[in-house]
């Protein structure tokens, strides 16, 4: 078997007496489309924060392409090919859409420390930004400050930012949360068109989106993995129905 793209190995996290992740194990093969579902407060976003390094685990190890990244700062993990989107769009509000994406490009190219020369003359950053925005159908938004955009378009810019980083493993934290169904479809179309070599872990409450995108699903409840399996198994699992699917809808 090949080296997993991402391996979460018995990871735990406590805030005082509150245990938000208990011995969580999760393995993503390269190119996997893995969904993480569970009720609110199950610890899904916490797990993403642990993987990206915004939080330090109390125990366990996290490996990216076989490299132990448990003790690395977030920016080093990004350099190793890990990227994430945020549940509540986390962009640079006063900057234009083009500047937002250009920031990701210059970070990827390591140009963010260059004080000599004009950004306008940096064709590698500009052409990359233009091609990416064009391919996502966002070029017309380029001159608009992000703060002026409607929510649905911000989500698309959010995804453009991580694609600019050309990651190997991508963590999507509720990419379609709070979107109207037309915007939701735009996000799903975009996600379905992503290169198949990209490994994706997606947290999402929208079950139609999860079942169309994911080839494996992990269900988390109260900081623990309840069950993991193929979509059909998860759909048929009575325990999952009890705690999650059947009981109430989440938004």
């Amino acid at each position: 078997m090949s080296v997993p793209a991402l391996e979460i190995d018995h990871v735990s996290k406590s805030f005082g007496a509150l245990r938000v992740a208990r011995e969580v194990c999760l393995t993503l093969a390269p190119g996997a489309r893995h969904a993480l579902i569970g009720p609110n407060g199950a610890g899904k976003t916490t797990l993403v924060n642990l993987v990206t390094g915004l939080l330090q685990p109390s125990g366990g190890a996290i490996r990216l392409d076989g490299t132990d990244i448990t003790d690395l700062p977030p920016e080093r993990r990004v350099a190793l090919g890990l990227a994430r989107t945020f549940q509540i769009s986390s962009l640079f509000p006063e900057l234009t859409v083009a500047e937002n994406v250009a920031l990701a490009f210059e970070a990827k190219l390591g140009h963010d420390r260059q004080i000599v020369g004009r950004l306008r003359d940096r064709t590698d950053i500009i052409d990359g930004t233009a091609a990416l925005l064009d391919s996502l159908g966002l070029l017309a938004l380029a001159p608009r400050p992000v703060t002026d955009l409607p929510y649905g378009q911000r989500r698309l810019v959010e995804i453009a930012l991580v694609l600019a980083l050309a990651p190997k493993t991508l963590l999507l934290d509720e990419p379609a949360a709070g979107l109207a169904s037309s915007d939701r479809n735009a996000v799903l179309d975009l996600l379905l068109r992503l290169p198949s070599a990209l490994t994706i872990l997606v947290i999402e409450h929208d079950m139609s989106l999860v079942f169309r995108l994911a080839d494996r699903i992990t269900v988390m409840v109260e900081g623990e993995v309840l069950v993991e399996g193929a979509p059909a198994e998860i759909r048929a699992n009575p325990a999952v129905r009890d705690v999650y699917l059947g009981k109430r809808s989440h938004g």
């Binding site: 250009a102 970070a107 020369g117 500009i126 052409d127």
Partner: protein, 333 residues
């Protein structure tokens, strides 16, 4: 479908930038005009330019990088003492003196930066304040080096380029100050238009997201802080050279506060605010003090209240609003 070249042009035009325009000529037209009109106020003009350089340095840190500091006098004072000591002990040549001042300020920023820039908000404000206070006390204690409360004096500054000697009317000082201001301004302009300039604005907007783009935020901020410190030190060095005196007041909280007020008055994050705010503040303080030497702060206070009420984005923001209303807005600056 747009062609690649068209797409690239759309993106390039979508960068908010600080291009050279006719507005950039205004300060220098004013500098030239005032030279003939100012008469005995020429030294005040030089003081205004020193304040502008200092405010430009602060704008880089605060306006572009979002580093909230109440201790920027630390760098101004470092530069002033460095230039004074350089003239006393090493050479009276002025330009190398300014370079020395800038280097000391930059090194100061590299040392202080990693200590203070790990924090944000009020903690950062308190730490910058603490560093400046510490330097003030050090300068006060090491009388053998700094002259303590008496300050540094009795040094000479050689003619600029060996030709233009500093005269009593302050003509050389005025042109010298204008030239330094021009150099500092164009350095700032180049910096904010560079890829690094966009990165620091990104850090100001969203530090966590910058980290998640793989940018080591602290080291970028330290770099910005050092550059800003170096330029503030150049302002201090210039002050030491033209006034031939370095006092403890160059390290005070009052000075840190004043430059912050100048910048907020003018408007942050555009570089032009430094020109407007510093000019208004220094001239107003001088005139008000001439009219009433005891209650002059009263006039400054009233202007500040009016500014906060009617121009919360500073004078630059006010002018942009009026321009937009008149229908000849330049778009996003």
């Amino acid at each position: 479908m747009t062609t690649d070249a068209q797409a690239s042009r759309i993106v390039r035009d979508a960068f908010s930038r600080h291009p050279l325009s006719w507005i950039d000529a205004l300060p220098w037209v004013a500098v030239a005009g005032l030279y003939f009109a100012a008469g005995t106020y020429l030294p005040l003009g030089t003081q205004v330019m020193i304040a502008i350089i200092f405010a430009l340095a602060l704008d880089l840190a605060l306006g572009f990088g979002g580093i909230a500091t109440l201790g920027h006098a630390a760098f101004f004072g470092l530069g002033a003492y460095a230039a004074g000591l350089y003239a006393l002990d090493i050479s009276t040549e002025p330009i190398s003196g300014l370079v020395a001042a800038g280097l000391v300020g930059g090194i100061g920023g590299l040392i202080a930066g990693p200590l203070v820039l790990r924090t944000r908000g009020l903690t950062l404000v308190m730490l910058t304040l603490a560093v400046a206070t510490l330097l003030h006390e050090l300068a006060n204690s090491f009388k053998s080096v700094t002259g303590g409360a008496d300050g540094l004096f009795g040094y000479k500054i050689a003619p600029v380029f060996g030709i233009f000697s500093f005269d009593l009317a302050g003509r050389t000082a005025y042109w010298y100050g204008a030239a330094v201001m021009a150099v500092v301004f164009f350095l700032c302009k180049a910096l904010v238009n560079s890829p690094f300039g966009l990165a620091v604005r990104g850090i100001r907007e969203n530090q966590v997201r910058m980290r998640m783009l793989g940018v080591p935020v602290i080291s970028r901020l330290v770099m910005l802080y050092a550059i800003s410190g170096a330029l503030a030190a150049v302002a201090g060095g210039l002050s030491a050279q033209v006034t031939k005196l370095v006092g403890l007041d160059s390290l005070t909280f009052t000075l840190s506060g004043n430059v912050l007020v100048m910048l907020i008055l003018g408007g942050t994050g555009s570089l032009y605010g430094a020109f407007l705010g510093a000019t208004l503040f220094v001239v107003l303080s001088d005139r008000a003090a001439a009219v009433d030497p005891f209650n002059w702060l009263f006039a400054v206070g009233i202007v500040l209240i009016l500014a906060v009420r009617y121009a919360p984005q500073g004078l630059v923001g006010l002018i942009e609003q009026l321009a937009a209303r008149a229908g000849w807005g330049r778009g996003r600056a």
